[in-house]
Symmetry: C2
């Protein structure tokens, strides 16, 4: 297939053209992340968890996400990058090492195969970096106009570290809330590109896989890590409010502590958006014991994607109506609220 080709409805029929698409485009683009033989993407894959964990039955984590980002390619990444990072990150914050991933592609008739190849190459690259194999997949084609180009669903299974003991219930008063880096660059880069705003030139998605951050934290700090989450849709605000609601504890954060990238702040102000509610991909919120906080920051900061890791606040006492309170830069107090909806969907 040449780069000029486009997707035909018949590519989704399950016949010869489907096989050609899988063997000629999808598997080569996924590269080392794909299966060893074409058949592996056509069927259920058999996994051998015994080989991961030396015979004992480990706890496994399972997650899924469908990626509908528009535009499909944006500064700093594309839908393929996102589809692997997002699912790897959902496993990572569950304390799991990603092991096997499924990939469901839905393609629009007329999609340029060269574009498909680029996004799958991105997906394959991130999967290799994250050490996860794409073991099974599915490809559907829908009529022109029934979709905007391509949607990707990824689901994945990971092995939960025996050292991980995570959950809302483990969060206690005085626990430190650690954030791995500045907010909003991913969501804003996508929005600006979609809106055709020039400031996108200064702003690129920092979409990344955070399995390295979470693995190092769990390895070094074990049960001193109480909870982890990656603040995606709804941003840091949604994550903090969810923690407050689930634990019944107030959460205090200091606005001045929250790292911000100047280009993201400028874009958010121009768009009238709150950086706290903008989607990220590749950021980590970890709640750790107060004693472990400094160590957690140091461990994270060894990674290039978390050089600006910092303690942004702490969990407080239980309350009948727990709130997330932000000490503002001006010295005031503001209640951080769960975003109601979202003005611009499809940034993840």
């Amino acid at each position: 297939m040449s780069g000029d080709d486009t997707i035909l409805l018949a590519h989704g029929g399950g016949g010869q053209l489907t096989a050609e698409l899988i063997e000629g485009v999808i598997l080569p683009a996924l590269g080392d992340a794909g299966g060893q033989e074409p058949a592996c993407l056509a069927d259920a894959a058999v996994l051998d968890p015994g080989a991961w964990c030396g015979g004992a039955a480990a706890r496994l984590a399972m997650t899924t996400d469908t990626y509908v980002v528009q535009p499909l390619e944006f500064p700093g990444g594309d839908i393929g990058t996102l589809a692997v990072c997002g699912t790897v990150n959902d496993l990572a914050v569950a304390g799991a090492t990603p092991r096997a991933m499924s990939m469901g592609l839905v393609l629009e008739e007329g999609l340029e195969i060269s574009l498909l190849r680029r996004v799958l190459e991105s997906a394959g690259r991130v999967a290799v970096e994250a050490g996860v194999r794409v073991v099974t997949g599915d490809t559907k084609v829908v009529e022109r106009g029934a979709l905007n180009g391509v949607m990707i669903n990824t689901a994945a299974v990971g092995e939960v570290s025996p050292r991980a003991d995570l959950g809302f219930g483990r969060i206690g008063a005085g626990d430190a809330v650690v954030l791995s880096g500045p907010l909003g660059e991913h969501g804003l880069a996508v929005m600006c590109r979609r809106k055709g705003l020039g400031l996108a030139g200064h702003l690129a998605s920092d979409c990344a896989a955070i399995h390295g951050l979470t693995a190092d934290l769990i390895e070094a700090l074990g049960s001193d890590v109480h909870f982890m989450r990656d603040p995606t849709r709804g941003g840091l605000a949604a994550t903090l409010v969810e923690i407050a609601a689930a634990t019944g504890r107030d959460i205090q954060v200091r606005q001045q502590a929250i790292p911000v990238a100047p280009a993201a702040l400028a874009a958010a102000e121009m768009l009238g958006l709150d950086l706290l509610t903008i989607a990220n991909e590749g950021k980590l919120v970890a709640v750790v014991s107060a004693e472990a906080a400094e160590n957690a920051v140091a461990i994270l900061a060894r990674h290039a994607i978390a050089r600006r890791a910092v303690v942004i606040g702490q969990a407080g006492a239980t309350a009948d109506v727990p709130i997330v309170e932000m000490l503002t830069a001006a010295g005031g107090r503001r209640v951080v609220q769960m975003p109601y909806g979202e003005d611009l969907p499809r940034i993840c």
Copy 2:
């Protein structure tokens, strides 16, 4: 939420409305198939395979499929039935008992929530019957016009029976090809409904989960079952050609042995389609040793969905250019070919 409500873009934003949709609609509709607490659909789920298999690390199977069927509801089923049956069946033919399923929903702005509730209730019902839990999920909303109502991706993990020893490589000369029932009713019921053809009145999808069939076969016959597949897209033709290509063996089938439902045959003839190439969901092709063939048919026929199970042919010798040959009812011979594409996609 009342039945009159429709999906808003903000239902996909990750904030309060998303939580209301998950807790107010999705989890209640999934019923016993869903998680025990709302949080379970928001995150990675932790699985404990040790509890399935008594401590030893079993082999696991993993599969995924995205369902884009149009119309969303059709005689005999809907996209929810299909999304669970299809993924359960992909595990079943790998010799696996389905254990945990993820569900990724993509909803179109304006979708009636009552419709969403119906399809999720169907999904929940089939999942309970199949003994699989929906352990994690994801919900995205796209703008009106960017999708036809709803797409569902399901991925699932199952435990492979220690008695299963399946693969193309296990198929030998003289092995019997067993088919569990008549072809094409699912695909034709969907096509007729989509085209508004009146003959749909006599035709309903026989979409079903076949985990019971495959489990009984493996339990009773063990390694005498050499290969299993459910003939979906591309129909029986694609499955047989794939077996011939992968094994390098000719396959012979007898047209008169292939069970046919009169309504399906009439519809296929009216539409100018070949029953052998039409998609099914809930049919099983099993390749078993010649000695086990009679027993296999008897075991299948105990199930209501496989009362017409029958040996339709056998694997032959290896050949440089292996073919699937059909002895026609008229006494002639016809080469069964891999369908090239498909005239009407979105029937699965």
